[in-house]
């Protein structure tokens, strides 16, 4: 074999690795009942593949071959170590007899295993701090270094969270299963929440100089697509649509110098029409099911914006109606604030100011910079300069992101001019 072909073969094997490794891992965790044992078996199986495949060719079903080899390697390893730890011999026997050789199994189990992996990493008995790195590491195959970089933390911190999460899964016996339909909805909420947290972390970093970290948003969208393929529930469609519609505006939401561009001033020709089209189709499917929830409603609101030729020509009445529905499905002060903005666009800033003042007086959003920035904007549009200044200053004192701070400073300066 010439060097070129060897290299090509290696690249082809790497592609197989990337495409198959998470599927193989998901099945090995079920067969071996342990994350670390499965990870080790996966590596050993690929080591054998790297040796055999270039020589003998890629097997007809590489995934099943890898699972079978990994399972064999794990059982073999336990037998060898049983000399020092007798309990391993029992465990090896148990795994060998209770699970059949995956080469003989149907492919339909595979998708179930991938779902089991997602549901285990997003189990509500784990904190979001643990769910997110577990999902990114085990399901998405990001390294701890990559996860740490995305979350502006140290690799050791992420590694420790993953170790603790695995210990909790093992010690409390979090089962490797997808819940029955009667319990699926509560549990699916947690999975969707984890994916949306990952997306938001990428879309708008909670602090620091950079407003967007595209890698995490892209990863969340990939996760959304995978989940939709495995579990075509309306709210999965809703969440994927919501992420796609937000993502469609990425190029338009910051200027070349990194400044925030508000929705009303964005160059709509920069919006990604493929994402919008895909998002809108998903929303239509979700709405048709009549079992949709908050994600679908938020996506529907984003879709009304996406389909409007300009801010002025937006169907604000429809947006207010959708916010009314969202307030019934998933009430929160943030939803109320967004509704106030839509009402201001439909009925004028005076009406919006009335709503946002009532909301601020209740105290829940007193520390939320966007509530004060919204109030400031209404006051500015009503010509109440002094009130506007007080609220912009309050917002500035609470804002943590550099681009947001610069935006508020600019608005304050404009008031003086």
């Amino acid at each position: 074999m010439s060097d070129d072909t060897a290299q090509e073969a290696r690249a082809r094997d790497d592609d197989v690795y990337r495409a198959k490794s998470r599927q193989v891992l998901a099945t090995l965790i079920r067969l071996l009942g342990d994350f670390d044992a499965a990870e080790k078996a996966l590596q050993e199986a690929f080591a054998v593949a790297m040796e055999q495949w270039p020589r003998d060719g890629i097997p007809a079903n590489p995934r099943a071959w890898l699972v079978s080899t990994g399972r064999f390697k794990a059982i073999d390893g336990m037998r060898r170590r049983a000399r020092y730890d007798a309990s391993l011999s029992e465990l090896a026997k148990q795994i060998e007899t209770s699970t059949s050789d995956p080469l003989e199994q149907e492919d339909e189990h595979i998708e179930d295993d991938r779902l089991r992996l997602i549901f285990t990493c997003c189990h509500p008995a784990l904190s979001p701090e643990a769910q997110i790195p577990m999902t990114l590491r085990e399901v998405c195959n990001l390294t701890t270094e990559e996860i740490a970089r995305a979350f502006l933390t140290k690799p050791a911190t992420i590694a420790q969270r993953i170790v603790r999460a695995k210990a909790k899964i093992r010690d409390t016996r979090i089962p490797y299963e997808v819940l029955p339909p009667s319990e699926l909805s509560d549990r699916l909420d947690t999975v969707l929440h984890v994916i949306y947290l990952v997306f938001n972390e990428g879309y708008s970093a909670s602090f620091g100089a950079s407003l967007t970290r595209a890698d995490l948003s892209g990863e969340a969208i990939r996760l959304g697509r995978l989940l939709l393929q495995l579990l075509p529930e309306p709210e999965v469609m809703g969440l994927l649509a919501l992420m796609l519609l937000h993502e469609s505006r990425r190029a338009a939401r910051t200027s070349e110098t990194g400044e925030i561009v508000l929705l009303e001033h964005q160059d709509r020709t920069l919006w990604n029409q493929d994402y919008i089209k895909e998002g809108v189709e998903l929303i239509e499917r979700a709405l048709a099911s009549r079992r949709f929830g908050p994600y679908t409603l938020q996506a529907a609101i984003a879709a009304v914006h996406a389909e409007a030729p300009s801010a002025q020509e937006t169907d604000w009445a429809q947006i207010v109606t959708l916010y009314d529905l969202l307030m019934q499905a998933d009430p929160s002060p943030i939803v109320e604030l967004n509704r106030a903005v839509a009402v201001a666009m439909r009925d004028g800033p005076a009406k919006g100011l009335e709503l946002v003042d009532a909301l601020l007086n209740r105290g829940e959003l007193a520390q939320y910079h966007l509530a004060h920035a919204t109030r400031a904007d209404f006051c500015r549009r009503l010509g109440m300069q002094a009130d506007a200044r007080v609220s912009y200053e309050r917002a500035l004192a609470l804002a943590q992101q550099e681009p947001e701070r610069r935006f508020l400073e600019k608005r304050l300066k404009e008031l003086e001019d």
């Binding site: 189990h123 509500p124 008995a125 784990l126 904190s127 643990a130 603790r164 210990a167 909790k168 010690d171 409390t172 016996r173 979090i174 089962p175 299963e177 819940l179 319990e183 509560d186």
Partner: protein, 119 residues
């Protein structure tokens, strides 16, 4: 009269002991329990896995909420216990969520250690 004796300790104090001393404490606790059992005074005893393994279940307004950690409200007091034997945590959460107390309070689910304290 039956009594429930709850053992409170700072885990980091226990973990600071060298392994052989932890083992000695565990052995002493086990032999104490054996003695009580022989005297017909002990119904059940077990060390628990560390507090990181705690999961709290609440059912406000009929919707089960499961969270990581032992976070009972400070105004909530220990009101009772259920010792259960089920295959996994999902079953334990299911049982905790159906307990009437979970609708107005919280139920902390902690796995029991199968071996001694030094495990």
């Amino acid at each position: 009269m039956k009594y429930l004796c709850l053992v409170y300790l700072e885990e980091k104090i226990l973990n600071a002991f060298p392994a052989h001393e932890r083992q000695a404490i565990s052995d002493k606790a086990m032999s104490y329990c054996d003695k009580l059992q022989k005297a017909g005074q002990l119904l059940a005893a077990s060390p628990l896995h560390p507090v990181e393994t705690a999961t709290t279940v609440r059912v406000p307004e009929g919707k089960t909420s499961t969270t990581d950690g032992p976070f009972a409200e400070t105004k909530e007091q220990l009101g009772g216990f259920l010792m259960i034997d089920v295959p996994d945590l999902n079953d334990a959460i299911r049982i905790a969520a159906q307990f009437p107390g979970a609708h107005f309070g919280s139920v902390e689910v902690r796995p029991m250690k199968e071996l001694g304290c030094a495990d």
